[in-house]
Amino acid sequence: MNAAILPSHLIGADPAEKNFLLAVEGLTVSFDGFKAVNDVSFYVDPNEIRVIIGPNGAGKTTVLDLICGRTKASSGSIKYKGQELTKLSESAIVLAGVGRKFQTPSIYDDLTVFENLEISYPRGRSVLGALTFKRDAQVRDRIEEVASMIFLKDQLLERAEFLSHGQKQWLEIGMLLIQDPELLMLDEPVAGMSVGERIKTAELLNEIIKGRSVLVIEHDMKFVEDIAHRVTVLHQGKVLSEGSMERVKNDPKVIEVYLGH
């Protein structure tokens, strides 16, 4: 079943040997016997925007949790640039180059936008490093650069709690960007956003894709069509369908469980 969704030239070869950025194979996690994710396999190419869709409870967020190490897999493997992630700690996975945005905006309300971005700046992550961290020109320039990408250049000195919901989502994306991850995972980045904000977010994602891959969970089909290179449909913890949006949209199984209603 899983072999069928691989590009034909890969069948027979070990997919992990190919130049996938992320290779998820046979991934399973069970919570007290309930398999939230059941034998899921998919492969993400470099510079690809992959969207995971599926009805509520399909296991989408759990897949991201497994990749970033928040949840430990019961079995299966997650290879990122050939490196097994299931054995690594959360911070080691971040250092390997995987960034994760949470479903509800997860930012530091008590800190300013600048300070929020600064904490994510990849330097001074040890206790001693954090104690002696200096805001030099390099840090300021990078923060400024990212802030203008996420449309928050004029809000740098504002406390993050005063940002709008959409701005908070952007700030969290910015906090990931500043880490410069090669794989960026976004859980419902446009949930709760206005139409205008959605369009800007799609622009932003198309901008930041350069040099990295993005794995997105999203419900907004219009938005998915705008950004997705390929779509993976999850249903009851399993991969139901995979391919281009066009293909997935016309897949009778997908229409049946998800798009039809």
Partner: protein
Amino acid sequence: MTRSPASNVHDNPFMKPMEWISLALLAAVIFLVLPMLLDAFRLNLVGKYLTYSFVALGLVICWGFGGILSLGQGVFFGLGGYLMAMYLKLEASSIENTKIQSTPGIPDFMDWNQITALPWFWKPFTSLPFTILAVLVVPALFAFVIGTAMFRRRVGGTYFAIITQAIAAILTILIVGQQGYTGGINGITDLRTLHGWDIRTDSAHNILYFVNGGLLVACILFAQYVKRSKLGRILLAMRDKEDRVRFSGYQVASFKTFAFCLAAVFAAIGGAMFTLQVGFMSPSFVGIVPSIEMVIYAAVGGRLSLFGAVWGTLLVNWAKTTFSESFPELWLFGLGALFIAVVLAFPNGLAGIYRTYVEPRLTRRVKALEPAPAVALPHAAE
């Protein structure tokens, strides 16, 4: 020329003008006002209170900034105090002083408990440099072990508070039970000299009061250094969104352990200074009740304010002394009511009241006087 906002953002100044004023005010009260107003007995009493404020200061870092509530800081206060007391007791137990004992040269309580030789772990405490080092290192190591064990396993919040409280109870029971090694329920008493210098005189009390004040200011400055560093902001971030910090590549457990160790070291310095000024150490400063009282000091003063912690400690202890002289039975109820009232009505304590009602007015006045300052980041811990 227009400059972008970020190019104006430099490191936070070490202290903002208002913080310098707060420090100057505190220093003036400790070093000038109180010594001038109070007699030797009362000044020694204030010195004793100030030793508790080391604990409150540590709680501001650990609890206020880091969100780690420890209900067992008495453990570290007690460790510091006992280690210092061991040195002083050995000095007071010279063969000359203890010749009437069956084994001269060992502390009196050991002799009463039929111990005939100095236990191995007491032996190094004949050295003052070793003792000072031990006061700083032993509590830090102990906190490191507890912190690593708890935070690595993601034990936090209420569970951590309960475990620290259990440790305070265990240590008290251990000290009381091992009478021959620790002096038991009476503690270590009859301390006389520090490296030959009699610490029981008024002039010694006076000098120790100033040393204590100086150490307190040094600890405040170090706490300020931590607060304004990126580490200080990471502590706040962790308190707010621990997972976000973790998934930004930080080992959250290490940062929590650091905050807990720092609080432990502060508490131990306070404990050692307590022993020196009061002249004894006992398990009644180690257990659950004193540990919770110390949390109340920080809460009343304001758990986010380094200076508030000191004022809160002084205020609560002043109230304790005043009211417990008049209403000894009612005082503890009063203390409990004070804690509940503060948490419900003023969650940021005295410092919160000051910041909400007093500082805005002061700042307006100060701003009217001085030219516009360079843009600095408003510090988030306010």
